[in-house]
């Protein structure tokens, strides 16, 4: 295992110390492992709390700041944080207008956030939760754990954050967040496996000339393992299931997001974006906004994902609104 770390057991602690040192505009509670906006709680504003396993940086800690999250809870690597952390964060960011929990749809995350919400309600904080489940690689069903939360989480945190910053009510912010989840779809792929520090070896084995299509952000196996192919074909393999699953034609087009999995150079992501933009154009789908970079990662996995979100006037207004976080910053 080749990683720039100390003891694998200390990865989360050490990285949080680094985030704290690098970002004076954030406040880090190292005991609870929560990253806060320095000015939280913002009085009268709906608080946004997210969190999840570590290993997806900049998500979530890197999205704390004006116009996005108020707090992010960091779990162990690829392991949901615990209710204590979420409760501490929820109580701390409540500015009187209630708190929205943004939860990626994994059994552990959902249950831990549920317990935290129950505890927060007990202590008088109004809490709503939105569960993000945008990964079309997973067959959806009422009788299963459902789809995983992946790329749409980034877009949702930005857009819900802008709505909260604009003073919308908890119900409205939650509604907007759910609308984002309803109208966003993602699909990912891996060229290489990630390696969990504590495990010390790759999560899955992939041959020198194979790639995994439909992979999850924890190295969960995907839909199929196929031979390496040119970027143009990879883009098609990612977009086909997305476009089959949801109708993105018409209206104001989409916000198109090409995301790197952690070890993929920006050069390749731009190249992939070119292929994605070409396919969308040929499909008659306009791109209203785009985002290209590594924003929701899977440790040192090489690969990428594509997320599309239906754009409309309100979505674009919220997308364009000022944001100032380590990971996303504009308009300020």
């Amino acid at each position: 295992m080749k990683k720039l770390i100390n003891d694998p057991a200390d990865v989360v602690r050490d990285a949080l110390l680094g985030i704290d040192a690098a970002h004076p505009e954030l406040r880090v509670d190292h005991e609870h492992r929560v990253v806060y906006r320095d000015d939280s709680p913002v009085s009268g504003k709906v608080g946004l709390v997210s969190g999840g396993g570590t290993g997806h940086e900049p998500l979530h800690g890197g999205f704390v700041g004006l116009g996005m999250l108020d707090a992010a809870c960091a779990g162990e690597v690829f392991t949901s944080p615990v209710p204590d952390q979420m409760l501490a964060a929820t109580t701390a960011v409540d500015g009187g207008a209630g708190v929205l929990h943004i939860v990626k749809n994994y059994t552990g995350d959902v249950m831990n956030f549920e317990m935290a919400a129950e505890l927060a309600a007990d202590s008088g904080v109004q809490v709503e939760a939105v569960v993000v489940d945008d990964d079309v690689a997973v067959q959806d069903s009422l009788f299963t754990a459902g789809r995983r939360g992946v790329g749409a989480t980034v877009l949702l945190e930005k857009i819900a954050g802008a709505a909260a910053e604009a003073g919308r009510s908890l119900g409205e912010v939650a509604g907007i967040a759910r609308h984002v989840d309803d109208t966003a779809r993602s699909m990912g792929m891996a060229l290489t496996s990630c390696t969990v520090p504590a495990a010390g070896k790759p999560t899955f084995d992939l041959g020198e000339s194979e790639m995994e299509i439909g992979v999850g952000i924890h190295g969960e196996p995907g839909r199929e393992r196929v031979p390496l192919a040119p970027a143009s074909e990879v883009a098609q393999m990612l977009l086909d299931p997305i476009l089959t699953d949801h109708d993105f034609t018409g209206g104001d087009g989409v916000i198109a997001f090409v995301n790197g999995m952690g070890a993929t150079p920006l050069l390749e992501l731009y190249l992939m974006y070119n292929e994605v933009a070409g396919i969308l154009e040929r499909a008659g789908i306009g791109v209203a906004r785009s985002l290209v970079g590594s924003y929701i990662t899977s440790l040192d996995m090489a690969g990428c994902s594509v997320t599309l979100l239906t754009a409309d006037d309100e979505m674009l207004r919220l997308w364009d609104a000022p944001v100032s976080t380590p990971g996303l910053r504009w308009g300020l």
């Binding site: 949901s80 009788f143 969960e220």
Partner: protein, 216 residues
């Protein structure tokens, strides 16, 4: 309890300690099972959680409820993932059912165990056949109830429960997962034993070894 008649606070503490030991001994095996159909952390998760539970057994709990609540809280606070809230809820609901009693008779213990199971089901929404810990815990609760209803003592009931849990665990292998991470695999989850059902079987075996063999 030679007479199989009561489960004291000390018995419960011994149960938790024994479960912790078994988890620690099976840490690698649990993680390996989780590698195949999950994310390779079930052994580490449970070991971290049960170590915290044992560290919290400071002998101050005077009643079954507080002792079990402490265990549940420790699991909820330390584990994360799916198994933290599930095992945590299991012990928290047992605690509520056990209440302030200094000891539990076999029927009260069985009722508390079932309350724990119900908690797992209401938290995780898994039913039998979904390839989860519920597939080990449900037959165990059923076997315990049945044995006691048949007039068996706690020792006999827990022996039967442990056998049922292990059979339930083994039965997860051919199942297709419908809950938890393994569900993402769809048909490819078939042929692998569920890690949570495996740790749950350890829990019931530990109960059989600690709650029904020692003097009251």
């Amino acid at each position: 309890m030679a007479d199989g008649s009561t489960v004291t606070v000390e018995h419960l503490a011994a149960w938790l300690r024994d479960f912790a030991t078994r988890v620690s001994e099976n840490r690698t095996r649990l993680t390996d099972l989780d590698s195949a159909i999950g994310d390779a952390d079930h052994g580490a998760n449970m070991d971290r959680g049960m170590s915290a539970v044992v560290a919290g057994l400071d002998g101050t709990a005077a009643a079954a409820g507080p002792l079990l609540k402490g265990a549940g809280m420790a699991l909820v606070s330390k584990v994360g993932g799916a198994s933290g809230p599930l095992y945590g809820t299991f012990f928290l609901r047992m605690a509520t059912a056990a209440g302030d009693a200094e000891s539990l008779d076999p029927v009260a213990f069985a009722a508390a165990f079932r309350a724990g199971l119900d908690g797992v089901v209401s938290r995780g929404k898994a039913g039998p056949g979904d390839k989860t810990m519920v597939d080990a815990l449900t037959p165990a609760a059923d076997a315990l109830d049945a044995a006691l209803a048949d007039g068996g003592d706690l020792a006999a009931g827990l022996r039967s429960a442990a056998q049922a849990a292990e059979a339930g665990r083994d039965a997860t292998t051919p199942m297709q997962a419908r809950k938890g991470r393994a569900s993402y695999l769809g048909e490819r989850s078939v042929g692998h034993q569920d890690p949570g059902a495996t740790s749950a079987a350890l829990l019931v075996t530990a109960a059989s070894d600690t709650l029904a063999g020692s003097p009251a």
